[in-house]
Assembly symmetry: C3
Homo-oligomer: 140 residues x 3
């Protein structure tokens, strides 16, 4: 069974910015000849996550509002207080909860995404960074 | 390696209603002849999620309470404020966090679920809807 | 395609204690001869979870603080109020949200973990317990 591993590098701005990576993931799949199997998307960072979302400006704003409420930026996080120069304790906690791995089954060479589903990379860090993603496709 | 893809449609009521889909998933597995591999359960919606839970009336009530506290229904969510007729901004944010994909490894034709583990579909939307789930089984 | 299933038992203390299981997972992988594929880590409990985290004392403290704020221990959770002797309603709700399954793709016999990424088992229960984890490796 073929196993294809691809690497994506994406420039992100942090502060809960979301990048829609659906087309990049679809391209990885279409470059293989596989009919059915699974795609695993893995973010190689602790302060960024991958998720399913509806790509709509209101929800992009709401996502930022939500994280600022649930896990606010705060110098009192011990990650910041104990490590001089660190200010991204909240970014780690957000990434931990939103997670770094997403597995999607495919068939007939198509991702089964629903009408409103898009794949998003969300960056919780406090400054712009390049982010690395592993996309692995396994199937027949 | 065989890859079997099944589709389930489940009528849901929204408002954090949970449907226990463990038996449906077990049936999908038992209808194959596979001994070991992985099952991937993928919900084709942004306002519903799949999760592991203990199916106990108290926890069903607590789950509803928790989501109403963490991410309350609110006309002020920008998804609602900017899009006339929308009232489910909170449903999207809940679905995003609780996620749409669950992968479970199996062996000896059995899911390895612990004594209290059940597989739940949770619907965060504001009205009753039919929900589609992809169940893909890959193994030997 | 080989499918290898391993079982780990880990003694945990509860109260959001985190155990770094990266080396145990790497050992499971190195004991196979597989070059590429996926590892699925599945926790067989409802009140413990698996996650990616940076293993730093400040973040370990922050994780405990975060969960005590987001989903506090409370006799009023219906799981506790309706079931005499139960005190871990919050543990179930935390486990449900943090989740029990993590899939990581590997290639060249290596996990693709980023510099700061570690694999953590987090135990939300209210007393010490032994926890069981299934580690399944599928690949070529």
């Amino acid at each position: 069974m073929p196993i294809i591993t691809r690497h994506l590098t994406i420039r992100m701005q942090g502060h809960s910015q979301i990048e829609n990576i659906s087309d990049s993931i679809r391209r990885c799949l279409s470059e293989t000849s596989l009919q059915a199997g699974i795609i695993t998307i893995f973010v190689k960072h602790t302060t960024a996550s991958v998720m399913i979302f509806e790509d709509e400006p209101g929800l992009r704003a709401d996502t930022k509002t939500l994280w600022d409420r649930l896990i606010p930026e705060d110098p009192a996080w011990q990650h910041n207080a104990r490590n001089p120069g660190e200010d991204n304790g909240h970014s780690h906690l957000r990434g931990q909860l939103q997670r770094q791995s997403l597995t999607i089954p495919f068939a007939d060479k198509q991702l089964p995404l629903g009408t409103w589903q898009e794949i998003g990379l969300i960056d919780f860090d406090t400054r712009a960074r390049s982010r690395e993603i592993v996309v692995q496709i396994m199937g027949e």
